[in-house]
């Protein structure tokens, strides 16, 4: 039995401790906002927060999350109104949208440490999150907007 918190709710799971957190979240707990994209920490679609740090859930075994606090995209804000989520909608960032929960979770971890990141810090923090639709310029703009950085 592994006990952890997911989005503030205690989960007691009788699951193989080696199962990647991604599949625990999706297949066992039933939250589908965290996405599978590569299974090898190469694309960032599965990004969640583990005690506030961005991690790739596809390579994080459940045992590593035992007793810790997991936040998924569903738990980032109560009503989808985190400044990043609002900026994403206002700037029309998503195309297909599949990678965007991972992008937002990576950006949220960045802003929690660096409330006003530089362009280089944004690029560096999001370099692990692929977007095949190619929304990168809008992602950058939305992170800056959420951070209250004026364009110019």
């Amino acid at each position: 039995m592994i006990v952890l918190s997911i989005n503030g709710r205690e989960e007691r799971l009788d699951v193989d401790p080696e199962m990647p957190l991604l599949w625990v979240i999706r297949d066992v707990v039933g939250l589908s906002g965290t996405k599978y994209g590569c299974g090898e920490a190469l694309c960032g679609a599965c990004t969640v927060h583990l005690d506030g740090e961005a991690v790739r859930a596809c390579v994080t075994p459940l045992r590593r999350a035992a007793g810790r606090e997991v936040t998924t995209i569903e738990g980032l804000s109560k009503d989808g109104d985190h400044p990043l989520q609002r900026a994403w909608v206002e700037l029309g960032v998503p195309q297909c949208g599949y990678c965007q929960s991972g992008q937002i979770m990576s950006a949220a971890a960045l802003l929690s440490k660096k409330p006003r990141p530089s362009n280089a810090e944004i690029d560096q923090s999001l370099a692990g999150n692929l977007c095949r639709c190619g929304t990168y310029t809008r992602i950058r703009a939305a992170v800056r907007k959420a951070a209250g950085i004026k364009e110019g």
Partner: protein, 760 residues
């Protein structure tokens, strides 16, 4: 209670509609309305409600309370169809968007062509066709109001969810007209009158993204997110070589993995492979992870089959041999041989592009439930009707007993128009007697897909002593997409050659194009912009090479070779027929003025002359595809490590009439990144018939730091009929980058990807 006193015949004649009521089929029996409007959040059928009101066609329902339901029959994969198509229908109807519910169509012939492919959702006949769907409802509501007020229908207008008669200042909400309108015969759809374009008020203004709030909250439902009671997950070991088969399989170890319930051998496909699954062995388990572990524990060996000797790198040499000899003539004007023989200077260049994979962020995934009633699927698909046909064939079912629900697509790029993975889900569900989700891993996606073809091209031009280009010979050789659907295919189709070879305007007196022989050894499929990828790369690069050979500015050279503003037809091009993406040339002519305008404007926007004078390394290319014209300027610099970086890009697109400029702009931005990926990194290689690459570390796509930091897009204002939007941005990107790289480094990257030149 209001009733209609006028006999219907005269009523409709007065409207100028005639009496041939009815038109486009109403939804067929098995696709009858069931769901409530909020069903997008749930994996359930989305059809028109059955709560009274009226349904002028399969796409529109007006309820008794005035609530309008509009069906989106195309698949949403980021291009914004779920916003733009209903907005166009609604604008023609005269709706208040706050009182419209949008539902996603199942796969059903009632909706006509649902294949979301070829940038075709709006272009061509689709635009007016969509408008007619809304117009049919509008005509009925206006007729009901006009009758009630005893005024001519032509004096009434539908807007903001009401019919208004301006002269008498009367206004009736749709809600108050529905019951009367419901008694009217349905207007004849093909001849229903459309509004003047200026009345389509929301068309041409950016629309809110319907699904964005759900996407950013993690609530949007993609194919991978569908969960049914009792559903199992299957991961499949497929033959590494196309046409290969299982030699031996031992499932003992796999079945000991906790959670694994079944191991199923799948049927072997027959040639041509078309949309059949590749065969192999499915491991079915209670969770995705158990299925993946089960597959890893499977002891399986393979027979490679006849494609087992395919070496894509050597094959490139064969394609080059093909284009060094004369091929099948597909375009001819004047006498190229004489022009080249008599030329003062000849310029020759060969270009190659390797196989590419789509790699949508959501790998292929489909959920099927086969039971005594038939088969029901929830699929991340571009083509639900094709899913239905293929599943019906594989399960030997009447297609009416196959229902296909379309989820959001986590990217597609052409991959999800090939329903082999849906057929897998149906076969496995039938075999195990439970609902089954087939989940492709990223490695499956990269190794077992339908690949963009591999190509070689040779271009040769002759200059006279004054530097004028007098002859142009273009040879192209690549395995055809047709080879996936028929045996014995050795040449490209007209449609493939119509993507940048047959339809290229050239102000050159002697022009010939030839197609060399090429046989496929993998499944060749279409990928975003298809053959325009390689043709635009070669032509756009060669144009730049000619500029340097002629000592002219690349922009001036490009405009010179396109020639003066004119409409170019089959005769000038020297072809029997211009495929033109299936669109009539009179409505969608090949217009050199539009090429020129894009080139002029993009170079203005990029400050081409002053930036090049300042020493910036810029590259320019223009291409016409899917009825849209796009010019791109790319800027490249060396980063701190000395590697080439595309730092900025400018795009000017003339897509004719645009419904939703923000999404078309987004498509162009995305196209720049897609084109950057294939230019710098994209290469799938096959050794002994099997794909070498396995994941994003060796099949690279551009990451944020490699993507241009600024992409400026401008759409040409136009009232020309709409062109495509999803694909046409891609083709000019790679040549623009290659030309900029030449300006920066002096290296002419004629073989993609540029990574092999150690530039990036």
């Amino acid at each position: 209670m209001s009733t209609l006193l006028v006999p219907r015949r005269s009523f409709l004649v007065a409207l100028g509609l005639g009496t041939t009521a009815l038109a486009l089929g109403v939804s067929t029996a098995e696709a009858q309305p069931k769901a409530t409007p909020d069903n997008w959040e749930r994996p359930t059928v989305a059809q028109l409600p059955e709560d009274g009101g009226f349904t002028p066609n399969a796409f529109v329902h007006v309820a008794l309370d005035g609530l309008v339901t509009i069906v989106c029959a195309r698949s949403e994969m980021g291009q914004g169809v779920r916003s733009s198509l209903p907005a166009l229908i609604g604008a023609e109807l005269g709706d208040d968007p706050a009182r419209v519910v949008i539902v996603q169509a199942d796969g059903d012939t009632a909706y006509g062509n649902q294949d979301t492919d070829g940038s075709s959702s709006v272009r061509g006949d689709a635009y007016d066709g969509l408008r007619r769907l809304g117009a049919a409802a509008r005509v009925m509501l206006v007729a009901a109001a006009a009758h009630r007020w005893s005024v001519p229908a032509t004096s009434c207008e539908a807007r903001d969810h009401a019919v208004v008669h301006a002269a008498s200042k009367r206004r009736a909400d749709f809600r108050d007209l529905v019951a009367d309108a419901a008694r009217l015969p349905l207007p004849n759809l093909p001849s229903v009158a459309l509004r003047p374009a200026r009345e389509l008020r929301r068309v041409g203004r950016s629309l809110p993204q319907l699904d964005a709030p759900a996407v950013v909250a993690g609530r949007a439902i993609y194919g991978a997110d569908v969960r049914l009671p009792g559903m199992l997950t299957a991961v499949i070991a497929r033959p590494p070589v196309v046409g290969g088969s299982v030699a031996t399989v031992d499932s003992k170890r796999a079945l000991t993995v906790p959670g694994v319930a079944h191991v199923i051998e799948l049927p072997q496909p027959k040639t041509p492979f078309a949309f059949q699954p590749l065969g192999g062995v499915a491991v079915v388990a209670d969770t995705t992870w158990a299925a993946m572990r089960g597959r890893a524990a499977l002891d399986v060996t393979w027979v490679a089959g006849s494609n087992g000797s395919y070496e894509s790198t050597e094959y490139r040499g064969q394609l080059l041999t093909a284009v060094r000899a004369e091929g099948k003539r597909v375009r001819n004007v004047g006498n190229v041989d004489a022009a080249l023989a008599g030329a003062w200077k000849r310029v020759v260049a060969e270009y190659t592009v390797p196989h590419l994979a789509h790699v949508p962020m959501e790998p292929p995934v489909s959920v099927a439930r086969v039971d005594a009633n038939g088969c029901e699927l929830w699929s991340s698909t571009q083509s639900p009707e094709e899913v239905r046909e293929q599943v019906a064939t594989a399960l030997k079912l009447d297609p009416k007993r196959v229902r296909v629900h379309v989820t959001l697509l986590g990217g597609a790029f052409g991959r999800k128009a090939k329903p082999d993975y849906d057929v897998e889900a149906a076969l496995v569900s039938k075999a195990v007697g439970s609902p089954v989700r087939v989940q492709w891993t990223r490695t499956d996606d990269i190794q077992n897909g339908y690949f963009h073809t591999t190509s070689a091209q040779r271009l040769e031009a002759g200059l006279d002593a004054s530097g004028k280009v007098v002859g142009w010979l273009h040879r192209t050789a690549f395995p055809s997409i047709s080879s996936t659907f028929a045996t014995g295919v050795t040449h490209a189709s007209d449609g493939e050659l119509g993507q940048g070879v047959l339809d290229l305007p050239l102000a050159i007196p002697n022009v010939r194009a030839e197609n060399g022989e090429a046989t496929a050894h993998v499944r060749i499929g279409w990928l975003r912009s298809v053959c325009n990828i390689h043709h635009a790369f070669a032509v756009g690069s060669f144009m730049d090479e000619l500029a340097h050979a002629r000592g002219r500015d690349p922009k001036d050279n490009l405009l010179d070779l396109l020639g003066v503003a004119r409409i170019v037809g089959a005769e000038e091009l020297g072809v029997k027929k211009v495929p033109n993406y299936g669109a009539p040339l009179d409505r969608y002519p090949i217009d050199v003025a539009r090429y020129r305008r894009c080139v002029e404007r993009v170079t203005e926007l990029a400050r081409w002359s002053s930036r090049t004078a300042e020493g910036r390394s810029l590259g320019l290319a223009v291409h016409h595809s899917f009825l849209t014209y796009v010019a791109v300027v790319a800027s490249v610099v060396r980063d701190s490590l000395g590697k080439v970086l595309v730092d900025e890009a400018w795009v000017v697109a003339d897509a004719g009439t645009v419904i939703n400029p923000d999404r078309v702009t987004a498509m162009m931005e995305g196209a720049v990144v897609f084109g950057t990926s294939l230019a710098l990194h994209g290469a799938i290689t096959m050794r002994a018939g099997a794909v070498v690459q396995t994941n994003f570390h060796d099949y690279r796509v551009a990451r944020m730091p490699e993507a241009p930091r600024a992409i400026r897009v401008e759409l040409i204002e136009s009232d020309a009929p709409p062109g495509g939007a999803g694909e046409p941005g891609v083709p000019p990107v790679a040549p623009a980058i290659a030309n900029a790289v030449f300006a920066l480094t002096g290296t002419r990257a004629r073989d993609l990807p540029m990574a092999q030149y150690r530039l990036v």
